[in-house]
Symmetry: C2
Subunit: 352 residues, 2 copies
């Protein structure tokens, strides 16, 4: 059974919200943002240990990041790093790896995970993923992991479930009624009052035939492209074939391409301390804080009359901050950013 | 006449108010704080050009700073850099250089200047210094340059002059009634209402016999020490002799040792845009500002909703500041400081 489980880690993101910590040369997933000694992609792989062997772990990323992945994940076989020649969102990424895995094992069960999220409770995470993999091994279901919301977050999509009807095989898994886009604050407040609304974590579980068939039904053109090179997967001609067809793929997320169209969508509600770490504010929540609610990453940071700040610097740097309330202070290499936490959505604009 | 004029630049200060721009390895006088391409000591020497030749310019500094002085003032003869083996305030510094100059030229007229002040109007400065040198060449007067105050500064000492009685030789020079220590704000406000109160600029002019005699009268012990090694000035044994006697000197400023005791003290009131550049606030006043009253030194600084700030960084660094009002942001090498301008007196304490 073990050998049928595969983990797919999507690592092509080029986040700019954590500038100047992250940048186009080293996006968020390759950074040790929590200062644990492990980068986010390393922590992602770590939490799948026991779910499958390293040879069944796949990373799909930009060709630009191949060296970073090899350096940070030395246990991963080099041929398990799939390289996208250009950015086309998550649907072509998942299609590519699904056709590859199908060529090796038509009985594969797959969990797809972002590379830059955080999970606090790894044991609960593993239990949830394990149950979902087991579920899809005997069904054609598409399963998403839904997170029980604890605040009216407007930065996440929501899943509306039908809690009246658990599946026969696993009573923790429910039918999805609908997917909701990132809501307004008012709507988010309504959502979290209801017991059947969950955050969409971006974690998906399915067997390889289910997802390949879903592409064939809902994205026949994309499907035809990946089908056209089926003789070349896992051969010396795979990369050149991908480099040729990938740019022709529609630029679309798997949520839009598949999830919102398919009928048999299920959700596994879980609580394992999940965060997509999508902003400095969410990082501030996760980091240890001093008595004034300051999160400090760096070995030589002194604060005076300073509260509710996140201060993130190179470890060897001496930093003194006086008189700030609710600010981000970041310093990396040759860049420095000081901005109100409340204005963090504008960070992308600051350095264009 | 020209060859009797000497300029003495006191460059032993170890300012910590401009940390992290300045530090014990490179105090303020060796920094290009105004971003003009010239350090403060270079600008100081520049403004004496025409007053005397480089061979009559003297720098008294700590032995630690000899290389910095040579590097920054390459036109100065190496033997004109006098090295103090330890810090003893300005009186021993001035005594040392006075005994040296007297050994070379008993008819010398001397202007003594701090190395880290700023003068905006060099032409007026030169005219004032020239008149004072001319005045002391024919009198035993001790002359100070007094600055016409334009605000009730509490960081400066004040000079009370007797404006009813100009000297016969130069009608711009007046007797000093008294020196006033740094006043309270209330007192400073009273001072600047009166036409005969001036800031003490720390610029002194006298002939070499006047100052040597003043030391003999008012500081006989210190005088005896410098007299005891008179055979060794300008010989290979000068440094070892100084290294021996200097630590025995009283640690005292020339203001306390001489000025407040001597009878024949005069002041030349002047307005040449002088600042002792004693704080970030005073630097902020002197630097060019953008329309939001921000002074920015650095080639890649962007500000948003930011006003009344001084931002001083290494030129190659990219800096983004959002949402600050009235702050100092400084970055140098491996240190960074963010503090309210109103709290700048505490900077020394921040990095102890």
């Amino acid at each position: 059974m073990r050998s049928n489980n595969h983990v797919v880690i999507m690592a092509g993101g080029v986040g700019s919200r954590f500038w100047p910590m992250s940048n186009v040369d080293k996006p968020k997933q390759f950074l040790d943002l929590l200062s644990t000694g492990r980068t986010l992609i390393q922590m992602t792989v770590d939490r799948f240990m026991g779910i499958c062997e390293p040879e069944n772990i796949w990373v799909v990323t930009s060709a630009d990041f191949k060296d970073l992945v090899r350096e940070q994940l030395p246990l991963l076989p080099e041929e398990n790093i799939l390289l996208e020649p250009c950015r086309r969102n998550t649907a072509p990424c998942i299609a590519y790896v699904s056709w590859v895995i199908k060529s090796l094992n038509p009985n594969a069960n797959i969990v797809v995970s972002p590379s830059d999220h955080v999970v606090a409770d790894t044991a609960t995470f593993k239990k949830a993923v394990g149950e979902c993999l087991s579920f899809v091994s005997t069904s054609d279901a598409i399963v998403t992991l839904g997170m029980k919301p604890d605040h009216p977050e407007t930065g996440y999509g929501y899943i509306e479930a039908d809690l009246t009807c658990a599946t026969v095989i696993n009573k923790n898994i429910f039918r999805v009624d609908s997917f909701k886009e990132k809501p307004s604050l008012d709507l988010a407040k309504q959502y979290i009052e209801k017991p059947n609304f969950f955050w969409n974590s971006g974690l998906f579980v399915w067997n390889v035939n289910t997802i390949v068939n879903a592409f064939r039904v809902y994205r026949p053109e994309m499907s035809a492209l990946f089908e056209s090179i089926r003789d070349f997967y896992r051969t010396p001609r795979e990369q050149e074939s991908i480099d040729r067809i990938f740019p022709q793929c529609e630029n679309i997320s798997v949520d839009y391409a598949i999830m919102e169209n398919a009928d048999e969508i299920y959700v596994y509600p879980a609580e394992f301390g999940w965060s997509d770490l999508g902003s400095w504010s969410s990082l501030h929540k996760l980091l240890p804080k001093d008595q004034y609610n300051n999160a400090k990453v760096g070995s030589n940071i002194k604060t005076f009359e300073t509260q509710n700040c996140i201060i993130h610097t190179s470890s060897e740097r001496e930093v003194v901050v006086q008189g700030l309330d609710g600010y981000i202070v970041v310093e990396k290499d040759n860049t420095m950013l000081i901005t109100k936490l409340s204005e963090e959505q504008r960070i992308k604009l600051f350095h264009d």
